[in-house]
């Protein structure tokens, strides 16, 4: 009853496409996992719905969130420069990374400087995206996850299966066995309270002693030079308060211009993510420890990561991908995610958001298959708090992944056309030819209806679960003509 085994020493970053089907199948064949995903997603959907009792109000708030994110993106390079200037003025050092390797180098360099072999980590999906833990281990350093869910997943040698609730694929009995086995001096207990207290005890010692703390960023405010962090547990505050050095890492799209732009986004984020009107802590960090202050890190660093975001930005049709505030609502409502869970995707970000963002990070070569794993039911687009048209983006990405020759007017996406299959491409050009020439079309319709008995019974994937497609006895044109003549 365990999740698909993922080898934790192998960077998952570079292994999306192949294996997606087999990993999905493994989960689909596991009734326990399916039940726990279903239960968890039902729970999150109900909690979200309870926070938005008035549809008109919800739509007004979504419009606001969408407008703020679109506005911020429309001024992105300027806002990044403003953010950098204000952070620097406040004493926070800013670093830029074009790709995961650069982000790893910057962070490893900072740890060397701090002479810290270990860092404690608050929840950060961007650190997962850049494979930070693996990179540190490879350099003889280490990173300890301190968010309870992340801690559990790390103990198990797995990956987060959900961007908000990383250990959602684990039952408390599995966690109880894991703790008894991996945490020294712990006996088996399946009381959730006791398990959490065990985690608390272990991690408190680490917060106390570790010299470097890492966190993500939910919003970065340009006008004041402020990093905002949303959390319930207090580990984010620990990581950004107790160690001597705080390193924050985030994607370049997270910036907003003004302080007043934060509340609507925060309201949408917490309500959409976990169905909370607000989280226990909302932390605004604007400076390292100042003279005369008695606590707080002496150094604060921000690492701004691109990793494919500029590709999405450069194309107007894909720019809305960057509106995302990482609430996870699209996965909670996705009929595919609910059935296969987060690990099957093989990418850092699973579910609908993973399908639309990963192609820019990893290229369409490996992610082209993911964009087809959608029924296009539209649930993701309907719940997205910042109105990202996810289904349309999926269709666009499908087209891009199979498109033909380069188009001179738009910049290419990474891996564009890499999923083009000669047979399919031929079938579609014939199809379009038929529809463009009435004579050919009539000939085709006539022969298809007359020779319908020749339609193959075995139509590959189609007939695996469906009856074969056989042309009708008469075409629609013929039927209409007969009707008219009666």
């Amino acid at each position: 009853m365990s999740a698909p085994q993922v080898n934790s020493t192998q960077p998952m970053h570079f292994m999306p496409g192949p294996g997606f089907r087999s990993r999905s199948k493994e989960v689909l064949d596991n009734p326990f996992l399916r039940q726990s995903f279903r239960g968890a997603m039902d729970f999150l959907m109900q909690k979200r719905a309870a926070q938005f009792p008035d549809p008109a109000n919800l739509e007004a708030l979504r419009s606001q969130g969408e407008a703020i994110r679109k506005y911020s993106l429309s001024r992105l390079p300027d806002l990044l420069e403003q953010l950098e200037a204000n952070l620097t003025r406040n004493g926070i050092q800013v670093h830029w990374a074009e790709n995961p390797e650069q982000a790893q180098d910057i962070i490893a360099g900072l740890m060397e400087k701090a002479q810290a072999p270990l860092m404690v980590k608050g929840k950060s999906m961007v650190s997962e995206e850049v494979e930070l833990n693996h990179a540190l281990i490879a350099r003889g350093m280490d990173a300890l996850e301190s968010d309870m869910g992340e801690y559990i997943v790390q103990l198990a040698g797995e990956r987060p299966s959900h961007i908000i609730m990383p250990a959602i694929h684990k039952t408390k009995e599995e966690i109880a066995r894991l703790f008894a086995e991996k945490v020294p001096g712990v006996d088996y207990t399946d009381s959730v309270d006791e398990l959490i207290q065990i985690g608390r005890r272990v991690l408190r010692e680490k917060f106390r002693e570790t010299k470097v703390g890492l966190s993500g960023v939910n919003f970065a405010v340009a006008e004041t030079g402020t990093l905002c962090l949303v959390e319930n547990e207090g580990n984010g505050r620990m990581c950004t308060t107790v160690p001597d050095m705080h390193i924050a890492i985030t994607g370049i799209e997270k910036v907003v211009e003004k302080l007043e732009h934060v509340p609507p986004l925060l309201a949408l984020l917490t309500r959409s993510a976990t169905g909370q009107a607000v989280t226990t802590y909302f932390n605004w960090i604007s400076s390292p420890r100042k003279a005369h202050e008695l606590d707080g890190p002496k150094e604060v660093h921000l690492v701004l990561v691109d990793n494919g975001r500029t590709q999405a930005y450069a194309r107007e049709d894909f720019r809305s991908t960057l509106q995302c505030i990482r609430c996870g609502a699209c996965m909670n409502h996705c009929p595919v995610y609910t059935r296969i869970g987060g690990l099957a995707y093989g990418t850092t970000y699973p579910g609908p958001i993973g399908k639309i963002i990963s192609p820019h990070m990893l290229g369409l070569e490996g992610t082209g298959e993911l964009v087809t794993a959608s029924s296009l039911c539209g649930a993701c687009g309907e719940v997205c708090p910042v109105r990202i048209p996810i289904p349309e983006l999926l269709i666009d990405l499908r087209a891009r992944s199979q498109s033909g020759g380069p188009d001179p007017f738009t910049p290419q996406l990474k891996g564009e056309g890499s999923n083009r299959k000669p047979f399919m491409a031929l079938a579609f050009s014939l199809w379009s030819l038929l529809y463009r020439s009435p004579g050919l079309y009539r000939l085709f319709a006539w022969s298809a209806t007359r020779f319908r008995a020749l339609a193959p019974r075995n139509q590959g994937a189609w007939t695996r679960t469906r009856t074969p497609l056989i042309p009708a006895k008469k075409s629609l044109h013929e039927l209409v003509r007969e009707r008219r003549n009666q």
Binding site: M165, M238, T280
Partner: protein, 226 residues
């Protein structure tokens, strides 16, 4: 900027890519829609809303009695079995507590955290702080870090006791941001606290005291805390 050569070329490349296609700037959005739409309300309504929201988040909210908040604080400590209470480095003269004879042993956050780690992490039962203001709509206390009131006081000890002047209640977050004018001078760390630390990471079961305080006790007064 302390950029290494690598990050400075990364910076230039990223900004150049973002500017490779000019994006027409959109008009500045006006922030007006809010979830509560409570508008301005009398203090009593705000107090009720704050109280019910905080209680829903598992915090305790106590109105200071007629004998004053110090007596209330002593009673809270007695009821909770708090034997050691840590105060901010300094409290305004009118608010000072020490010395007292019946309450818990008092200490102050009067040294750099590095020196105090042992008592802060392992000995102190509760931390005592003054709230800057609060937000009724979400049941949120606003704390500022300052040389007088270090931020770990509301984070590390297992109980957090917070004093709030109810006349400093704002309806909702946008109102608080606008009226407090933080945009012109952000403190080192502005912390919004809406309950005790919690997690639902194990099978969506709520548990309190994940990494921060297991309990949050708010004492309401009507008295200047500045």
């Amino acid at each position: 900027m302390s950029a290494t050569p690598q990050t400075s070329s990364a910076r230039a490349n990223i900004l150049a890519r973002l500017r490779s296609k000019p994006v027409p700037p959109l008009p500045q959005p006006t922030v007006q829609v809010w979830t509560s739409q409570m508008g301005d309300q009398p203090v009593e309504v705000l107090r009720q809303s704050l109280k019910s929201n905080l209680e829903a988040a598992h915090a305790e909210v106590i109105q200071a009695g007629p004998e004053g908040w110090r007596a209330t604080l002593q009673k809270v400590c007695q009821d909770q079995g708090i034997k050691t209470l840590m105060l901010p480095r300094s409290l305004p003269p009118t608010l000072d507590i020490a010395p007292w004879d019946q309450g818990p042993a008092l200490s102050r956050f009067d040294q750099p955290m590095e020196t105090l780690k042992d008592s802060l992490f392992n000995q102190v039962d509760a931390g005592f702080t003054l709230a800057e203001c609060a937000i009724a709509d979400t049941g949120t206390l606003v704390l500022l870090s300052s040389p007088e009131q270090p931020r770990s006081l509301s984070l590390v000890p297992p109980v957090h006791i917070c004093l709030l002047d109810v006349r400093r209640l704002h309806t909702d977050m946008p109102t608080a941001l606008a009226r407090e004018q933080w945009a012109s001078a952000m403190p080192t760390n502005l912390i919004f606290v809406s309950g005790p630390s919690k997690t639902a990471d194990i099978q969506q079961t709520l548990a309190y005291g994940a990494h921060g305080p297991k309990s949050l006790i708010v004492i309401l007064v009507e008295e200047d805390l500045q």
